[in-house]
Amino acid sequence: MADLRSTIAGIRSPNPFWLASAPPTDKAYNVVRAFKAGWGGVVWKTLGEDPPVVNVSSRYGAHLDTDRRMIGFNNIELISDRPLAVNLQEIIEVKRDWPDRAMVVSLMATMTETAWAGLARRIAETGAADGLELNLGCPHGMCERGMGSAIGQVPEMVEQVTRWVKNAVNLPVIVKLTPNITNILWSAEAAKRGGADAVSLINTVNSIVAVDLDAMAPTPVVDGKGSHGGYCGPAVKPIALNMVAEIARNPDTSGLPVSGIGGITTWRDAAEFLALGATNVQVCTAAMTYGFKIVEDMIGGLSNWMDEKGYRTIDELSGRAVRNVVNWNDLNMNFSTKALIDPALCIDCGRCHIVCEDTSHQAIRIDQGDGRRVFTVVNEECVGCNLCSHVCPVPDCITMVPEQTDLPYVTWPNDARNPMRVPEAAAE
């Protein structure tokens, strides 16, 4: 059976599934329930200096599919609104009772060394924290007070805060990055320069999740008004995967451990983050959608899949896909793949045909078969775009089959069809 034990920045946990700093980790009651359910660790909801913040009523918004499945989720909740001493005492008690679980504490302060170092020391003095996570990402509320993404969006400030905290305490420091920037590498490199032991990403995406068309206000509606909030959940996973991969394949940050965050709902999502270079993962929305029990299948599913694939440890899996993430200019222009429809699995819905016909390459023909339609790919027209295979409701009914070819691997810079190509002779 695969060994799921995880170590990131020296912080150990029995499995790579942590709960992210968020409402589920706001107090001992929730965290103890999470540990009982099997979560490997938590990042305690962000602590700030006293007096604690005051939250508004009406805090979460949702992006739902028509069947009410959660596509995305957002919040306008601030950091922990409980006194610092209460949080620290609970952290001590929980860590005492659950010593094998990772206890990372998130913190946030204004842009002064006194504030950051003071808060970090208070947490370190508990002796209960396995590490710190610097919240430089919240895109709502706290940023209006010069914290959260207001710091995280400025690489120099990211570096500075990281250095202050590293100098103040002798604990592993994870810097949590905001995706609300133009290039994640600038923040990641800054964190590394500041001495970060790891980065975690992504924090929430700035968003208006929905508009209440009766109130004519963004949701969540607070007395007729709404504000932009932090977006998370399944819809942000692709954004997070890309940013994790960018850090993993960037030479300047490639050794920096990454805690992957963003819409992780299943063991498969987790495996994808790990494959792109994450060392562990953090989860929030899935727990807030289904409760803590979902970790059971995350653990079991990942373990079974790793056994099936022969990965014995998380380290063996971590980063396995990174070398295959390349720039577009490094893709093989001579590769060709064609859709193949299995008539035995086809249920005759016709969606492959209509999406190809209306929006793509008119490459799926309909013939009248025996009491039903038969859909056939016209290989001459098929460009291998994959659209039909994505919209088909039956798994494996439409597969993409690479064409056998003797053509060499040719990238666009070397492709004869590229008008900007530098001729090889001239390049020599």
């Binding site: 599919d65 028509t66 069947d67 009410r68 249920i347 005759d348 819905c349 016709g350 969606r351 045909h353 209509i354 039903r372 409701p393 039956v394």
Partner: protein, 439 residues
């Protein structure tokens, strides 16, 4: 024969589920409709549309339910089938749209199209103040429609929306035809048929004259003389007979007449039924009568059909429903003689499509016998019209052999004798009449 008092007390006790008038398949809740509508795959050129005699754009209306556009859903349905509310309740969807649903192939469970259709239309028919259809500018043309059943009302509605003035002549006291008089209440609960009629007439331009029967105070000749066009949606007016001794005894009744009595009974006063009821026939009407007799308190209900289950007009689903409701199905037996409290049958066999008696007989106790062996056209008042194979002869545009006269519904041979087919006939005939009047 002695009839027993029905279980009226269950009605007054307020236990609707136990009432003989209860809806067998209740309306969906919004949550059910949301879940079910999301199962629809929004197929391209969907097989369900082709399987619907009225060609409703089923994926479109189901998507509208899923997006919360219930009015749009209802409008999509009603623009092709103005009796979408009734059809959502009574259509044999298991042999039409739902049979062709692609969800059957991978999951063996179709989208519940009929129930979703009812969900969408109920709200519009009951709740929306504004009629979804507006009438075109008046054409000044007047059309007579004979029969206020599904075919007649569908035709009248379409003609009215196209700007014509329509007078509907109806022999009975209420409009709706078989929706009002011929469908068992477990399918058509409460006063839905009348609410649907009110909705259809709500478009305007339609006058219904009740107590006007062709052949009585109304003649085809006068209608042709006084109107620009005539549509006949007269249905099948008379029942086939068994032609056996004892058929005239008390307690022997046409199933259609029985259902009509059940439907027209005053609230809380359902008609009495026998203790041992025998229903003869294998179609929907036989099933309706058998189930309804059982629900009204009959101790034993036996449905006897002279051929096998596979040859029954009733669908497999309806047959199973009858069995679930406690009806015993007996096949391959033909009635021979009705006694005072008995009915005798001869066993039959089917070989090479030919039915013959075996000579072997058996007798069932019966204090009520309901006959459901088919209906036929009452041709008396149809002088001058060609009748072929027991149906009014029409061409592909529903035109009869008489000038200015069109016909549709059960009185013509366009498809199965179903409400949905009648609505389609009425609609297409209206379009043909419109082309003729505006040519």
């Amino acid at each position: 024969m002695t009839l027993i008092a029905p279980l009226a007390t269950q009605d007054s006790a307020g236990d609707l589920s136990a009432s003989p008038y209860a809806d067998l398949t209740p309306a969906m809740t919004p949550v059910q409709a949301l879940a079910e509508s999301n199962r629809c795959l929004f197929c391209y050129d969907a097989p369900c549309i082709k399987a619907c005699p009225t060609g409703i754009d089923i994926p479109a209306f189901i998507r509208s339910i899923a997006t919360g556009n219930l009015k749009g859903a209802a409008t999509t349905i009603l623009s092709e089938n103005i009796m979408g509310g009734t059809c959502g309740r009574v259509c044999p969807t298991e042999t039409l749209c739902e049979q062709s649903c692609v969800r059957n192939r991978a999951e063996d469970r179709p989208v519940a199209i009929g129930r979703l259709q009812r969900h969408a239309t109920d709200r519009l028919i009951d709740g929306e103040p504004a009629h979804p259809f507006a009438r075109a500018a008046a054409t000044g043309k007047r059309v007579a429609v004979v029969g206020a059943g599904p075919a007649g009302l569908s035709c009248a509605h379409r003609l009215a929306t196209l700007g014509h003035e329509v007078t509907v002549f109806e022999a009975k006291a209420k409009s709706g035809g078989l929706n009002e008089y011929g469908l068992a209440p477990y399918k058509m609960a409460d006063d839905f048929a009348q609410r649907e009629v009110a909705f259809i007439l709500g478009v305007g331009g339609i006058t219904v004259e009740h107590g006007r029967k062709l052949g009585a105070d109304l003649s085809l000749e006068s209608l042709r003389a006084n109107f620009d066009a005539v549509f006949l949606g007269v249905g099948l007016g008379s029942n086939n007979r068994l032609g056996i001794p004892g058929e005239e005894r008390a307690g022997v009744e046409d199933a259609t007449a029985f259902i009509e009595r059940v439907r027209q009974a005053l609230p809380g006063q359902p008609p009495a039924v026998g203790s041992k009821v025998v229903v003869i026939g294998g179609g929907n009407t036989a099933i309706d009568a058998a189930i309804q007799a059982k629900r009204l308190g009959a101790e034993d209900v036996t449905l006897v059909y002279r051929r096998g289950r596979a040859q029954m007009g009733a669908t497999a689903w309806e047959q199973e429903l009858a069995q679930t409701e406690g009806v015993v199905l007996k096949t391959f037996a033909a009635p021979k003689e009705i006694g005072d409290t008995t009915i005798a049958f001869e066993r039959t066999r089917l070989s090479d499509g030919k039915l013959s008696g075996t000579g072997e007989t058996f007798t069932l106790q019966a204090d009520m016998v309901l006959k459901a062996v088919g209906q036929k056209l009452s041709a008396e008042a149809l002088d001058g019209l060609q009748v072929t194979g027991g149906k009014i002869a029409i061409d592909e545009s529903y035109r009869t052999t008489l000038a200015k006269v069109w016909a549709g519904g059960d009185c013509v041979a366009t498809g199965e004798d179903l409400t949905v087919q009648s609505v389609q006939d009425g609609k297409l005939a209206a379009l043909a009449i419109h082309s003729h009047l505006t040519a």
